[in-house]
């Protein structure tokens, strides 16, 4: 098992590459989920009625 993690002496490079890639993927997934949740929250508030109320007096 420790032989597997040692990667023939290339542990830093191999696990560095796999780790960095995994980190980027996780960050992107979390960011995109947060963006969707944010957009859903905004869409609940900004309804057609709320929009027309907000623009009255400006148009």
């Amino acid at each position: 098992m420790s032989e597997f993690f040692a990667m023939g002496g290339y542990a830093f490079y191999v696990w560095g590459a796999y780790g960095a890639s995994a980190l980027l993927i996780v960050v992107e997934v979390l960011a995109v989920r947060a963006r969707l949740r944010r957009a859903q929250m905004t869409a609940r508030i900004v309804t057609p009625d709320a929009l027309s109320a907000a623009t009255q007096g400006y148009l």
């Binding site: 023939g8 490079y13 191999v14 890639s21 995109v32 969707l36 905004t42």
Partner: protein, 246 residues
């Protein structure tokens, strides 16, 4: 009755389709990643010349392929958006850019970590690496250009034009190892010649490429949903969405 090709070019029609597609692509991505990693890290033997450092290519090559492929698809959607004035096409392009940038960063970082033990250097300003770095700047430039324009339809046109002009970089990346004398080696896999690598290693790379493709579709469809809501909020169809009624 003729099939209306523009039916699904409406955000209101495509939004539920995108929502339904995501779980399938996300699950496929997870399954293919698990299989690809099992073959790549568990089954494939140590390389005779590179030792275990070669296992980095199971991420590097799929990510590098996807970084170029996503750009091509993004530019294609941009062109459709410019030609037919369909806003969903431009939203598709908008949704792909960040994932394209992530794939480019993964390709560059894993390439550097492979290059250090194999070539003796993390980075060299050779044609392949420099043009891949230019690809990253193109993605970042397109994202930044969109951020700088308030009117989303004007941003669609500006970003679409930049994306289309940037296609010129793709053949430069792809053929750089042929046109110039680069530190980066030539292609190991080709459509016309038998692959110069062991079948089990090739299998892992192909499985990981499918995983990267499934992942890209899943994550960019979720981003597309967010973009549609951001840009269409205040319309009656968005307000009528069942998921917003809680």
């Amino acid at each position: 009755m003729m099939f209306n090709w523009f039916r699904f070019s409406s955000p209101a029609t495509f939004y539920p389709v995108a929502s339904a597609m995501v779980p399938w692509f996300a699950t496929s991505a997870a399954v293919f990643t698990a299989i690809g990693l099992y073959i790549g890290l568990g089954v494939a033997p140590t390389d005779a010349q590179q030792g275990d450092a070669y296992r980095i290519i199971f991420i590097h090559v799929p990510a590098a392929w996807m970084s170029m492929f996503i750009y091509l698809v993004m530019a294609g959607w941009s062109a459709l958006g410019l030609a037919f004035n369909t806003r969903l096409s431009s939203m598709m392009a908008q949704a792909l850019a960040p994932t394209g940038a992530v794939m480019t960063v993964i390709a560059l970082v894993t390439g550097a970590l492979w290059g250090r033990p194999t070539w003796g250097t993390y980075w060299a300003w050779d044609a392949r690496m420099t043009s891949e770095l230019v690809l990253l700047f193109l993605y970042l430039g397109i994202i930044a250009l969109r951020q700088s324009i308030d009117d989303s339809r004007r941003a669609d046109r500006a970003c679409g034009l930049l994306a289309i002009v940037g296609i010129v970089n793709l053949p430069i990346i792809y053929f750089s190892v042929v046109w110039w004398n680069t530190l980066h080696q030539g292609a190991t896999i080709s459509l016309t010649v038998a692959p110069k690598m062991a079948a089990i290693m090739l299998t892992s790379m192909v499985v990981m490429t499918f995983a990267a493709w499934f992942y890209t579709v899943a994550v960019s469809l979720v981003r597309l949903r967010a973009i549609i809501l951001e840009r269409e909020c205040g319309t009656s169809w968005v307000t009528a969405l069942p998921e917003l009624r809680t």
